[in-house]
Symmetry: C2
Subunit: 198 residues, 2 copies
């Protein structure tokens, strides 16, 4: 299966990515995206029977579809819709897992403009229903990845809404989040954090 990202960049499926040599790995700065790393991590979790986590499809508003004879339907006009929830969810030991993954080139803080109010609302609902909600934040320039529980995000969101700073400083992240050690199999072992936390 091959599909393209909204940015038009072609993306071959996880299994083929998994076969590529370690030299292509992000640490050599040859452009594995956070999403690709998390997809590979989720594929590893599935294969190793650790958890079942999937990325949700990109929400698209379909306006015009053609049905040519003897071939499959073609979407001729569609638009990207803002997601009403987070990007990833699934199950680990019966528990509901729900998270959003964001990367920033910023070295000193994580800009909250990367998050939308409805995603905050969704994470609040998940927390209220005893699901495990969090964000995976990657500072690409620092090559640091953090596991930030949703309940730690809310105060910073409130601060922004009440006119405070519109980002979470790297120091605040380091205090409130758990650093995820990067590996190869799996690349971003966020379940390990959950295991120790819940």
């Amino acid at each position: 299966m091959i599909f393209n990202y909204p940015n038009g960049k072609a993306y071959t499926n996880n299994s083929s990515l998994a076969k590529q040599p370690a030299s292509n790995h992000r640490y050599s700065n040859r452009g594995m995206s956070l999403e690709e790393d998390i997809n590979l991590t989720n594929q590893y979790y599935l294969q190793e029977n650790i958890a079942v986590i999937h990325k949700k499809p990109t929400p698209v508003q379909i306006v015009d579809v053609h049905y040519p004879q003897r071939s499959r339907a073609v979407i001729k006009e569609a638009y990207f819709k803002q997601a009403s929830t987070t990007d990833y969810n699934g199950v680990y030991k019966g528990k509901y897992i729900d998270f959003e993954a964001k990367e920033t080139k910023n070295k000193t803080s994580f800009p909250l403009q990367n998050i939308h109010q409805h995603q905050i609302n969704h994470m609040e609902s998940v927390v209220n229903h005893n699901g495990i909600a969090f964000m995976i934040i990657q500072f690409t320039s620092l090559e640091e990845v953090y596991f930030l529980p949703a309940i730690e995000i809310f105060p910073f969101w409130e601060r922004k809404l009440s006119g405070g700073r519109k980002s979470i400083t790297i120091d605040e992240i380091r205090i409130n989040a758990t650093k995820i050690e990067l590996g190869y199999h799996p690349r971003i072992d966020y379940i390990k954090v959950i295991k120790n936390m819940y």
Copy 2:
């Protein structure tokens, strides 16, 4: 928010649907689809703080995107992809909920061609990880809706694979599934079944 289904049918959002008079309700056979009923049910669960369940976006393979100046990106060529998981998932009391909803006009059996192998595989994974996996099957002509736990589906799937009948008879459904009483708020109270079952 307004979007269109793959069939091109326009669909106004749940809240506006919720406002329509009861006379428009499916029982008067004026075409509420199972998906619409389940979306309204999920909206009710969210509003009443009972559960957080969402339908996943339709998976689309995006091939060509245009970025016109001063207006949003337009997807000019895309194709419907087969879903690799089920359509609905979310959290109820911390537990992972995962299901597929199917309707059939058939009065005597549910054709298994409505299900794909990878959806069966996914439901098996969810069950193995102690998630709650099931199907909601609606017999539109009979106006009957059933809650069929995933573990009850697998044997019928095996029967099909081993050359047996390619459907589940209505009697087999009635024996192995729980009938969901239809209402208005919520329309299809599947959480009630989970409450009594788990």
